[in-house]
Structure formats: structure tokens, C-alpha cells
Amino acid sequence: MRSAVQARDEGVASFRTRLFTAIMVIVVTLTALGFYLAQRKVTADAERNLQENFQAEISSLHKVEELRHAALAERCNILAAKPRIHAAIEDNAIDLLYPSAKDELRDLMEGDEPPPEQAARSLHARFYRFLDSTGAVIKPPNTYDVGELDPKTEAQLALSRLPDTQQIGYIRESSEADRGTIDEVIAVPIFSSYTGDVISALVIGFKPLELEEKNTEVGMRSGVWVNGHLHLPSLPKSAQASLSKKIASSVANSDREQDNFRVNVDGAPQLLFYKRLNPGSLFPAAYEICVYPLAYSMAQLHRLRWQIGGAGALLLLGGFIASHVVALRFSAPVKKLALDSEENRAQRKRAEAALASTTQELERSTRYSADASHQLKSPVAVLRIGLETLLTHEGFKQEVYEELSALLHQTHRLTGVIDDLLLLSRVDAGHLQIAPTPVNLSQLVDEWLDDLSALPDSPDVKIEKEFAAGLFVAGEKRYTSLIVQNLLENARKYNRPGGLIRVSASRAGGTRNVVLSVGNTGRTIPPGENIFERFHHRSTPSAASGHGIGLNLARELARLHGGDLCLVRSENDWTEFQVRFPAADGVNAVA
């Protein structure tokens, strides 16, 4: 029993554990999924935001640049179409080229340099050069008028061939030791007025537009990467060099004109965007570079991680509680079921044991009854047969015959008492079952009344019958008969000479019962006397004999029938018993 309880408890516990584990797994999975998705979303959002930022910056820059380039190109084209410049090139007067250009470009070159904050916006040219038919730079007679350039920088202006459209380029002046400057150059072709061929090109250098560093809260830094060099003055030189290498490899490995990748600058993660500034140009590819620190988005991500982690933990806690509750709720019925089944099992066992013992007892009792019946009845039968044999003898005195006859009567009585006792013992043991069949009560009463009147010592009593023929009750005939017999015998036995027995039976109004009343004249029963007690004997001696169990047995049997037996009244020379039987309506007629 102990191990069974243990096993049951273990079963319930394991069920709970499994349920909780399942809920845990779900919650953890959801949290992890939430983590993953949120992280991805944040990262993607951050990158998209920065990308948009970059694109917006670059597109606004490009719009300005385009306008500027258009304006510059228009001016350059006008310059390039100037008759003197044409004359110098076409009429083989190269020596006059720069002097002529000096006049023509005077308004572009002359004047003080605008203040730095306006430098990028103005169309002020820093320098200009002409290219010859091979694309090489035509050396100016003096560099003062055309803007000074060191030879290395000047060489960058050369093109592999003369362009037939406007070309944008970016060159790096490395004259200053620590930080170079970037110049934006526009090359416009000069077409021969004779042939329409490109005979030269005018290259004009400007200060480039720079992205305004207005996104200070984002911390964006921008610069230009050209020809393997990164020009991003706000970064330290070493960082520039390492970034430059990364950009170079990225540019080399990708044919896209714009892209982005993550870099580390001074240990801080940054997102680097680049976009080609001069797509399709004959000049070396130049890229606008924007570096955004990811610290902000990292912090955001960090914060979000904490939030999600907290939420996950809360969810986990909630899941824990919920799973506990659910498990409890789920496991309670299971536990109950287990308990119930346990109880059922115990009950069944008990019942089985009881049944076994009852069966045993029944068997024993039946055997006992049979034994008792045999043991008791046999001597009585022997006694009776002996008495009857004696009676057949002749030659005894008349008194002897009377005595023998009385003894014989006593043996009959003894047999009746034994039968009653055996029956009563069975009733007491609960072994007696009524198998109800319809019993004709009217007929039964009639038969017994006939028998009574036939009895030799019956006093002179009048019998009144008040019942209809064919009143059926539900009962077992021999027991029903015993009840009727007992009542009628008593009514006769305790009557006075010249008395009256009234037997009435009727269907009780409104019920499914049949009530049989047996009343008789004669001495009444004193109040307070329990006549239904076993082996009860009337306190007042009388001639009537009884062994004291008849009424008790009758009542027990009536109750077994589902009815009852009671004393209705006993006064004024009238004692009346009433027995109630269930009517036989609901019982299938057998006979």
C-alpha cells in the first residue's frame, strides 16, 4: 500500500514535471525567438536608419553637386567654346593657350579666395589645366595664373584619353605633409570647330563640397576615398590608413557602386557607407565615405536586450507560475483519479473480502441452518413417530391416550417453533431475500380462515370478511402466507368465546399498498407492552399458548416484503393488527 501511494505520488509529480518542462520549453523558445527577432529588427532598423540617413545626405549632396556640376559644366563649356582658346589649339598657337585662357577664365580664377565656409559653395576655381590630344597635361608657361600644383598632383589630372563628355574626378593634393586636401575636378571636352573632334580638354579644379557635419547626435563623419587614399580629416591618420585598406578591398571585391560594412575605429564599432561619386568617369573612382558610430544603436540594442530579457524573465516567471497552476489543476484531477482509483481498489478489495466472508458465512449459516434443522427436527420426528406408534397401540388407559395426544401436539408445536427460529435466524443474518411475485392475498386469507375453522380446539368465534376477491400483493407466497397465518392464528388464539374476528383488506387510497387488517375481540394488550419483542410473553397469563417469536417474525417478514406490520389498536375488547404489502402492480405475474 505504501509503495502504491508512493508510485502514485511519483506519477503525479512526473506528470507535473513534464507539464512544467513543456511550458518552460515553450516560454524559453518564445523568449529566445523574441530575442532573436528583436535583435535582428533592431540591427536591421539601425542599419536602415543609418542607410537612409546616408542616402539622404548623399542624395542632398548629390543634388547640390549636380546643380553645381551643371553650372560649372555650363561655364566650362562656354569657356571651352571661346574663340581664343579654340584659336590657340586649332591654329597651332599653344603658347597662347594659357594666356588666352587666363583672360577667359579670369572671372573664375580671380579674386580673393572666398572664406572657407563658403569655399565649397562657390564656383571659385583653384586651378585649371588643358589636356593635349593624348590626354596629357599641357604644361602652363607659369603656374601662378593657372593655380599652383605640385607635379605629382598635376599628373593626376591627365587622362588616358580625351573625354567626349564632362568628367568628374577627385584628386588628392598631398603637398601638405600631414593632411592632404581633396580637389574636385571637372574635365570638359573642347571640340574642334573644324572637325567636331575632341581636340583638347579643359580641367578645372574646385574645392569639393563636403557633407555638412550636422548629424552631431549621430556622430557621422564623412570624407572621400580616392585612389587608395582616404581623406577623412576628423579621423586620426592611422585609422584612416586602416579604413582605407578596408575600403579598397571592399571596392575591389564588389562591383557595386555603393555598399556598407561594419568597421572598428579605435575599438568602437562603426558602420561605413560608401558611394561612388563619379560613376563612369575616366578619372579614378572616388567614393563618398560616411562613417557612423554604432554606439548609439548598440546602446539601443543593449537597452532593448535588457527589456526583452526582462520581459522574457517575467514571461518565464509567469510561465513558471502558470505552469505550476496549470500543472496543479491538471494534476489535481489526475491525483484525484489516482486516489479514487486507489480508494476504489481498496473498496473493491474490502467488498471482495466482505463478499467472500459473507459467502462463507452464508454457506456456514446455510449449513448451520440445515444442520440445526436436521439436528433439531430429527429427534422431534423420532419423538412424533414414537408417540404416533404408541397411539396406535391398544390397551392403554384413556388418560394415556389423552396424554400421548397432547405430547404429539407438542411435537407439532416444536417443529413449528424450530422452523420459525431457523427462519428468523436467516432474517437476522440478512440472508433471506424476497423474490417478489404476485400473491393472491384474498385467496390466501380465505384458505387460512378455512384452516382455522377446521382446527379442533377453535373457540366459537364469528368471522367477518371484508375484502374483495383477487387482491394481489407483491411477495413470496410462503412468507406472505406465514404473516397471514400468524395474524389469523393470534386472532383466534387470543379471542374470547363467542367473539369476533374481522379480516378486511383493501387497496390503501392514494398509495401502491394493500392493507390487511385483522381485528379480534378479547383481552387487550396493555399499553407499553412490546409485543413485537422476540420471545415476548404476555405479562398476563392466559390459556393461550405461544412461543413468543411469531409476531416478531411476521413483522420482519412484512418489512422484507417492503411493507410493515403494526398494532393499530388494542382497547375495549378489540385488538387490531394491520399489515401493509406492496401491491403487485409492478410485479410480473408468474402464476
Binding site: A81, K82, P83, R84, H86, A87, A88, E90, D91, N92, A93, L96, S100, S192, S193, Y194, T195, D197
Partner: protein, 214 residues
């Protein structure tokens, strides 16, 4: 005073050889490049460029006798006017040393200049009322491209020759050179800035030689 006398003398001298000295005559036809536009009636000639070559439109050629001739004492002053944003004439053959005036007949400024190796000059901006009329003396043989700094499309040509014996063909290419000195020379036909054809000729006084340039 002296200048005026010189001019007069020059004028007389330049007419003299043709009118009085009966020299040799060369006549013939120069095969001109095909003209695509309606030509003859157009009195206005323009300098056009085709494939980097300057020529007149409609096509005209200059036929001249090349050789070492003594410098004439004086050469007459010639004139290239600017009218309706073109040079008139579009092509002017002159003797080395000729002074050419560039009167502006338009209502607008012109700025005639040349970067040509044979003569670089820049007359600056001037209007019709400008006096004296801007002029240049061309003392080196060669082809001079005239341009206007203000009107980039304007082109004019001055062909500066070592000789006084030259003539412009008509639009059919016919030419006739009178009063040529006897001797062996090269007769040249300038057709465009790239093309000058030549043929050796032996001239005798009183003879008319027929030379065609294919």
C-alpha cells in the same frame, strides 16, 4: 603727305604690269571641290570647315605664280569688312607686305584676331565708328585665319603670297592671269587650307598658256 604719295604710287604701279606691259597669260580651270549648296547666285562667301579643312563656300581657288620676284615698291591696301557677322571677302589673297584694313560695318562690336603662325594680331574690340580703321600689315607668307573673339562662328581667310601674280577663280574654277613675266615658274592653285596644287610652267611673252588643275 609722303604717305599719300606712296599710296598713289603703289596704286599706279600695281595696275601697270597688267595694263601696259604685255606679258604672258595663263588661263585655265581649277577643279574645285564639290559644293553642296546652291552656289552661283550667292554673292556671299563664307569660310566653312569640312574635316578640319578651311575653304570658301561656294568653293573658290586662288591661282598664283610662285617664284622669286622682286618686291614691288608698294602694294595697295586691301580691305576685309565685317558685314552681317561675316568677313567680306571670306578669302583674300594678298601680296606680302600688304596692309589690310578691317572696317566694321555691323552695328555691333567685333574683335578680330588671329593666332595663325603667319600673323598673330589682335585688333581688340571696336565699332563701326572706330577711326582709324583697324588695319594690319601682313609681311609673312602663309594662311591666316581670321576670327572674332565676340562672334565665335566668324571665320575669314587671308592668303599671304610672295607674289603679285595671283587671281581668284570664278565659281566654276576658271581663271586668267595676265602680264606674267616670261620664265620658268611654278603655277600653284590654292584650293583649301590643306590643298595647294602646282604645275611647272614656262612662260613666254605674248603667249597664252592653258593650264588646268584637275
Amino acid at each position: 603727305m609722303r604717305l599719300r604719295g606712296l599710296l598713289w604710287f603703289n596704286a599706279v604701279f600695281s595696275i601697270m604690269p597688267v595694263a601696259l606691259l604685255a606679258g604672258a597669260v595663263v588661263e585655265g580651270r581649277v577643279e574645285l571641290s564639290k559644293s553642296h549648296s546652291a552656289p552661283v547666285q550667292a554673292k556671299r562667301y563664307e569660310i566653312v570647315t569640312k574635316g578640319g579643312v578651311l575653304s570658301t563656300q561656294p568653293p573658290l581657288a586662288v591661282v598664283y605664280l610662285d617664284g622669286a620676284f622682286p618686291h614691288p615698291a608698294s602694294v595697295p591696301t586691301k580691305e576685309v569688312t565685317q558685314k552681317d557677322l561675316t568677313f567680306v571677302p571670306a578669302l583674300l589673297p594678298i601680296r606680302v607686305g600688304t596692309r589690310v584694313e578691317f572696317p566694321n560695318l555691323d552695328d555691333t562690336y567685333h574683335n578680330i584676331f588671329s593666332y595663325s603662325p603667319a600673323k598673330r594680331f589682335d585688333l581688340g574690340r571696336y565699332r563701326a565708328e572706330e577711326r582709324p580703321i583697324p588695319a594690319e600689315v601682313f609681311d609673312k607668307p602663309g594662311l591666316i585665319t581670321l576670327r572674332c573673339d565676340i562672334h565665335e562662328h566668324m571665320r575669314g581667310l587671308i592668303l599671304v603670297l610672295n607674289t603679285s601674280y595671283f587671281v581668284m577663280t570664278d565659281t566654276d574654277g576658271h581663271f586668267r592671269l595676265n602680264g606674267l613675266p616670261a620664265g620658268r615658274y611654278k603655277l600653284k592653285a590654292w584650293i583649301d587650307s590643306r590643298t595647294t596644287r602646282e604645275k611647272p610652267v614656262e612662260l613666254k611673252d605674248g603667249q597664252t598658256l592653258h593650264v588646268d588643275f584637275p
